[in-house]
């Protein structure tokens, strides 16, 4: 009886662990909604596998840290920390912690696991400090994608409007 109880307990723990490692999430960033198949369950943070980081927010984990363009946030990868951990050989990266270090706004709907990340302030400096038009990519009504930078060299009037 005692052995059976122990087996049940082990089963529950294993099941919980499986649920934790297989929790999924949706990340909204720069007009994309990325389905992340595996995250570490955490009530306050978003841990993704290092190999998923690029598709989530464009960052790449390099020896010197998490990098995009000419920005690198130092990340030690030989010890667990608030931004990086290893579990059973799998490397996990905390996207919410990165956002906090970059002062990047975010909001989360915990019930559905949907995270919405805003612009990274340092990446917008060229606009606010020098007036360089930020690039974007949007579809036309037939789904063809157009980038603002495709039209560089012309005078451009951007016009926001709405049907409402």
């Amino acid at each position: 009886m005692r052995e059976r109880s122990m087996n049940v307990l082990i089963g529950v723990v294993l099941a919980l662990a499986a649920v934790e490692s297989l929790a999924d999430a949706v990340v909204l960033y720069e007009d994309r909604a990325v389905q992340v198949e595996q995250t570490l369950a955490d009530p306050t943070d978003l841990w993704v596998r290092v190999e998923d980081l690029m598709q989530v927010n464009g960052f790449e984990l390099k020896p010197e840290g998490a990098c995009i363009d000419d920005i690198c946030v130092p990340v030690r990868q030989d010890v667990d920390s608030s931004i990086f951990v290893q579990r059973s050989g799998q490397r996990w990266f905390n996207v919410a912690e990165l956002a906090q270090r970059l002062q990047q706004p975010y909001a989360v709907d915990h019930d559905s696991g949907v995270w919405s990340f805003g612009a990274i302030p340092v990446r917008r400096a060229s606009f606010f400090e020098r007036g360089i038009a930020p690039d974007f990519e949007l579809p036309d009504v037939e789904g063809r994608l157009h980038r603002l930078s495709d039209f560089k060299g012309q005078k451009i009037m951007l016009l926001s409007w709405a049907s409402w």
Partner: protein, 200 residues
């Protein structure tokens, strides 16, 4: 206007700030006979990137990629609806002057001279909450969409885009909501005054 100016190395890129996507925007583009670049912007990306809070709003970008005017109520003409009228007919001539005169245009502001303020913390949080609302709207979860759209409006009450996008799904009360919000302006302009035209 675009037909008359397109031979002057000039392009209009319009972006519909519509969570309803192409289904909402396409009929309007079709009716307008759009010959410019006609885009669909479900997440209000253009407004986010350029800190625009109302529509229509225009941004002028020169050949080197610098912003030369921004955040202006860019009507092509005055529209009349019974006794009510809106819009203006003095903006399009400014655009035409810039396109034809280039750097010599008196309407062009010096590159790098614009006062561009980064969003406040609340404004930045409003944006990410608004985008959560768009996501849930697209998923058909209107209750959750409304929750985040209302949060966005409370964080950034200056954004007419957040409010009017939200109201667009309850057209029976949209007019009343708009009137109430206009009253909160207490004399402040509905659109930012246009430099050179509105006493600035």
């Amino acid at each position: 206007m675009f037909s008359e100016l397109k031979d002057h190395n000039f392009i209009i890129i319009a972006a519909a700030q519509d969570a309803g996507g192409a289904a909402a925007a396409a009929p309007w583009y079709e009716q307008a006979g759009a010959r410019f670049v006609a885009l669909v912007d479900e997440q209000h990306t253009l407004s986010s990137l350029y800190s625009l809070v109302n529509v229509p709003s225009a941004v002028w970008i020169d050949e080197t990629g610098h912003v030369r005017r921004i955040d202006e109520g860019a009507y092509a003409t005055v529209h009349k609806m019974g006794d009510f009228q809106f819009g203006r007919d003095d903006y399009a001539p400014m655009v035409a002057n810039w396109v034809q005169e280039g750097e010599a245009s008196k309407w062009l502001q010096p590159a790098g001279s614009l006062s561009l303020e980064p969003p406040s913390n609340d404004e930045a949080l409003a944006e990410v909450n608004f985008k959560l609302g768009v996501y849930f709207h697209q998923q058909g979860d209107e209750a959750r969409a409304n929750r985040y759209w209302e949060k966005a409006q409370s964080l950034n009450p200056d954004s007419w885009n957040y409010a009017r996008q939200d109201w667009s799904f309850t057209p029976e009360t949209a007019g009343e909501n708009w009137t109430k919000k206009v009253q909160t302006l207490e004399g402040r302009p509905y659109y930012r005054p246009i430099e050179g035209l509105d006493g600035r």
